[in-house]
């Protein structure tokens, strides 16, 4: 028979060993798996059959062009770039994809009027488009001019038989300039294509659907659906406000998104007027996080670690675990962190990839919600600093941008900040930084699995106690199994479908067009719950002595040094031929 000991202050549930068949429908971990798998299966059913009838033909034709162009010229020709883009038939661009995106949409970006987050009239949309139009026209003209220049430069290179280095370089630079102008024109076009919207009906609809979705599990687990649903309305409302905070234009530049705002707003309520008692049945941090993590598993496709070849694997998968383990040991032996779970959560979010790593690790080791909050807070502060400081430093010392990109991708915690810092330098820096960070993101799966294993096998056992395999199984957080299974299935699908089809139907279909959208909401609900149940004084206790800050700074310093060293060795000494191809 299982026993549960719930600590009131910490909301950490400690299970004693034992299991029954009824766990499959009575335990939260299993409900996270069933609900998560339901969404994943529905997403696959919607998107996988949705490719155009001639998709393989399109892909084959484009690949043949790419091969031919690669053999024709020693640089990426215009036709090469066009063939690469011709393979886009994304699930997210279909009518079903657009409808799903609309239904699950979060509030829109706003600047000074929060109502813009929910509603924009046709008149306001037209006014915004008129305001953005001149910049779009300018960007479009620059794009056209850059394209003409690229065509002329390529023609000159072709006239020389692609054997004149100087002319080839001019063509390469002109084509790169065209690609940059095209990206800016595309961004300017989006700003000049605002459509009117009214998000209230879809948000209400989504609230009802998610309330029922989670409420069914609550009911079967023996609690009241009605009480849960009533509280869920409030939690969902605060989550919407959190998204509003994250979409405020200026605040978003600092990287302060919905997780931070959810905690801030939740804590503001819980530490002033207090979270109403009728809301508490819906304050279900672990339930939302575990379900969200099962969905996140589908976004961890192991094939992606090969995206940039061996250098990427070394920078992201050799350096990262080294920094994680060394920082944890440093935290235990030198800093003497009072909490192992806080130590590993901070170590993971600093060394792996910020918020998402913190969530996965905290859940795997059953960290307290205050520890997750603290880890995320530290990560966001340093992310903002590094996003500004690192590209400035790289420019100032004249570091090659590919090296700089790899360095930033491997060290800046947040994915969005990596994109910003990379883009600040150049497109190549952005591509390398983003790819390294993506490979690190995929590491979350193994991090969560091994942390969970280490915790149940070593950390949670009593001194002198030996732990049997069955004991490990009973104690192992089962949602991590669901997380790993989702990852394995999607990795196999990714490999089986082939790169091009998978990118369109799985990555830009079942994942970006479905499971990811729900994952975002579930994590926001989780952070809202954390905020609504966190006491300022309890949170401050965890920061006593500044040890979390010392741990983060020490670990990040080591991370910066080791990542730069490894990136330099890999990209410039061992595999310079890969660097030359980028």
């Amino acid at each position: 028979m299982e026993e549960k000991v719930e600590s009131k202050e910490s909301q950490v549930v400690v299970d004693k060993a034992g299991g029954q068949l009824s766990d499959l429908w009575k335990k939260e971990d299993y409900w996270a798996i069933w609900l998560g798998f339901l969404i994943l299966i529905v997403g696959l059913i919607i998107y996988l059959p949705r490719g155009p009838a001639d998709m393989q033909e399109k892909v084959d034709k484009a690949n043949a062009t790419l091969k031919a162009e690669a053999a024709k010229a020693p640089f990426k020709t215009i036709a090469w770039h066009k063939a690469k883009s011709a393979k886009k038939f994304r699930g997210t661009d279909t009518s079903a994809g657009k409808a799903i995106k609309k239904f699950t949409s979060t509030p829109q970006k706003w600047t000074s009027n929060p109502i813009d987050g929910f509603y924009k009239s046709k008149a306001a949309a037209d006014a915004a488009n008129d305001k953005a139009k001149p910049k779009y026209e300018e960007a479009k003209a620059k794009d056209e001019a850059a394209f003409a220049a690229a065509q002329a430069a390529e023609a000159a290179a072709e006239a020389a038989g692609f054997k004149d280095d100087a002319v080839n370089k001019q063509a390469q630079d002109a084509i790169a300039a065209w690609q940059a102008a095209k990206a800016k024109a595309s961004s300017a076009k989006s700003k000049a294509s605002t459509k009117p919207y009214n998000m209230i009906p879809s948000l209400i609809g989504l609230m009802v659907v998610l309330g029922i979705f989670f409420g069914i599990g609550i009911q079967v687990m023996g609690r009241s659906f009605g009480e849960f649903f009533k509280g869920f309305i409030f939690v969902f409302f605060i989550a919407v406000l959190a998204y509003m905070g994250g979409k405020q234009a200026t605040m978003s530049y600092y990287g302060i998104g919905d997780p931070a705002w959810a905690i801030i707003f939740g804590m503001l309520i819980s530490n002033t007027v207090g979270t109403p008692k009728w809301v508490m049945p819906a304050v279900q941090t672990e339930y939302y996080i575990k379900t969200g993590l099962v969905l996140l598993g589908a976004e961890i496709m192991f094939g992606k670690i090969l995206a940039i070849g061996t250098p990427g694997i070394f920078v992201a998968w050799v350096v990262t675990p080294t920094v994680l383990i060394c920082t944890y040991i440093f935290g235990q032996k030198i800093v003497k962190m009072p909490s192992k779970t806080l130590n590993i959560t901070i170590s993971a979010d600093m060394s792996v990839c910020g918020v998402s790593a913190a969530i996965a690790t905290a859940a795997a080791c059953r960290a307290k919600k205050e520890e997750l909050t603290l880890a995320i807070g530290l990560s966001l502060v340093f992310t903002a600093i590094m996003m500004v400081a690192m590209p400035a430093f790289i420019k100032a010392v004249g570091m090659p941008y590919i090296l700089g990109g790899a360095w930033m991708g491997g060290t800046i915690d947040s994915t969005g900040a990596v994109a910003a810092a990379g883009a600040f330098l150049s497109d190549k820096a952005l591509y390398v930084a983003a790819t390294i960070k993506m490979i690190q993101n995929v590491l979350i799966g193994l991090t969560a699995f091994f942390v969970a294993l280490y915790w149940v096998a070593k950390v949670e056992r009593l001194p002198g106690q030996s732990v049997s395999v069955m004991e490990i199984w009973y104690r192992f957080p089962k949602f991590v199994i669901g997380f790993i299974i989702a990852s394995i299935i999607y990795s196999l699908l990714d490999a089986g479908l082939g790169k091009d089809i998978s990118d369109n139907l799985l990555n830009h279909g079942a994942v970006r067009g479905f499971s990811r959208l729900f994952r975002g909401w579930f994590f926001c609900l989780a952070f809202t719950s954390i905020g609504l149940a966190t006491n300022f004084r309890e949170l401050a206790e965890y920061f006593k002595g500044g040890k979390p800050l010392i741990l983060y700074v020490s670990g990040q310093t080591f991370n910066l040094i080791l990542t730069l060293l490894m990136a330099y060795i890999m990209f410039y000494k061992v595999f310079p031929e890969i660097t030359a191809k980028i």
């Binding site: 090469w80 007027v273 993506m438």
Partner: protein, 78 residues
Amino acid sequence: MRRWAGLFIGIFIIWLLMTYAAPWGRQTATLRPIMDVIDERGIDATAYYYTDLKEFAEAELNITHALRYTPVGPAGSN
């Protein structure tokens, strides 16, 4: 009463941050360059996973194609 005052003070502080502090920071010499890039490129700096950003999809597409279909040119060219 004190609790409600605390809530409204908190909301007021957040409003000050959004309306004054953040825009002021945006215009400083240190932050302006990178924030202009974020604005121009439409990057979501708050995203926390690679699937949340279109830039990552483009980056992966570019890198994998650069490695898979590396331009080598005809014999005799570099």
